[in-house]
């Protein structure tokens, strides 16, 4: 098959380019894209990409495969390869450090903005803050985010305003803490989001939902934030 990989080494290349590589898959097996990348790296050790857990838990190997963002380690070739060709690019919209490695700084800054930690101003109990099973269930579909950035880098609003729009991943996390029964900073969190950019740049196109490798639904969480803002307004 033909693999076309985005290559860029700022130390030697003036501009990024696409490198076409013909490769035979051993045994014609339906391997994961990450395994394919390892085969390519065996051929050309200069190729750079991030990876760690190789089972869709760490969120390191988010990349754009034939135009769709996803985790290389849990994406089989059969799911993305078309006409025996695969185009691999870094996640769109973030600065490229080298080859498939992007600078996630902007993404983490958006995450930092939503204060991704429990805020509770009541005196701490002796052991732990308890939560009813029903309250805990509110966090399902929110806490599973692994911050791989597949969703935010598939979102045009995040491409155009990464410094102002929080992006689907950050907003999913924002709702994770807004929905937490143990958090007492709901009012302050909402006040921080009520500007024309942070939440309201979401136009509900649901690219984030389409690409999330964990099957989460940031658009739904954003809708819930909007409803919370609405219900506390007069």
């Amino acid at each position: 098959m033909l693999v076309s990989v985005y290559r860029y080494n700022p130390e030697t290349d003036d501009a990024p380019y696409m490198q076409d590589i013909h490769i035979d898959i051993p045994g014609g097996k339906d391997i994961m894209v990450l395994d394919l990348l390892q085969l390519l790296k065996d051929k050309d050790p200069s190729m750079a990409y991030r990876r760690s857990c190789r089972e869709g838990v760490c969120g390191s190997d988010g990349m754009n495969m034939n135009g769709v963002n996803g985790l290389a380690c849990i994406t089989p070739l059969s799911a993305v390869v078309k006409d025996d060709k695969l185009v691999l690019r870094p996640l769109p919209g973030l600065p490229v450090i080298r080859d498939l490695v992007v600078d996630m700084g902007q993404f983490y800054k958006a995450y930092e903005k939503i204060k991704p930690f429990l805020i509770n101003d009541t005196p701490p109990p002796a052991i732990e803050r308890l939560q009813s099973p029903e309250d805990r269930a509110e966090l399902d579909g929110l806490y599973e985010c692994i911050l791989c950035a597949c969703c935010s880098t598939a979102c045009p609003s995040f491409w155009w305003n990464p410094d102002k729009f929080i992006g689907p991943s950050g907003l999913l996390q924002a709702y994770r803490f807004l929905a937490d029964s143990r958090d007492t900073a709901t009012r302050e969190r909402l006040a921080d989001l009520d500007d024309p950019f942070s939440v309201f740049r979401c136009h509900g196109i649901m690219n984030c939902v389409a690409v999330c490798p964990k099957g989460l639904n940031p658009t739904k969480a954003i809708g819930k934030i909007r409803n919370m803002l609405l219900s506390q307004a007069t």
Binding site: S157, W160, N161, D194, D195, P196, F197, S198, V199, L229
Partner: protein
């Protein structure tokens, strides 16, 4: 919290609400106009004049015109902050949009009460 001085109402929630309410008004006016033109009697100059001499129609049209102005501003402001990054160019684009919208509203009022 991102501060913004050129958006319609400074609050994202307010802009969002205005955008939706004005959209409903614009939709109602469109449905009314389509209904009037498609299912009413054959249109004559007298009928058209009579329709717009009616105070209720003038109020409905003015409401639609003002809704259109607010809707346009929020929409075009959004487009300009997405796609026009140099502040100077964005300011010019927003100024032209604002001026044009104001001209249309003033002109619309003149037409409505000039009948």
């Amino acid at each position: 919290m991102v501060t913004s001085i050129t958006s319609f109402g400074r609050s994202g929630l307010y802009d969002w609400m205005v955008q939706r309410v004005t959209a409903v008004i614009l939709a109602c006016y469109t449905v009314f106009m389509i209904g009037y033109l498609a299912f009413g009697a054959e249109l004559t100059y007298d009928m058209w004049t009579e329709l717009f001499q009616c105070t209720a129609m003038r109020i409905f049209t003015l409401l639609t015109l003002l809704s259109f102005a607010a809707h346009v501003w929020i929409g075009m402001w959004s487009v300009s902050t997405d796609y026009i990054k140099p502040t100077g160019m964005r300011f010019v684009f927003q100024s032209v949009t604002g001026l044009l919208t104001f001209v249309y509203v003033a002109w619309g009022i003149q037409i409505l009460w000039g009948i």
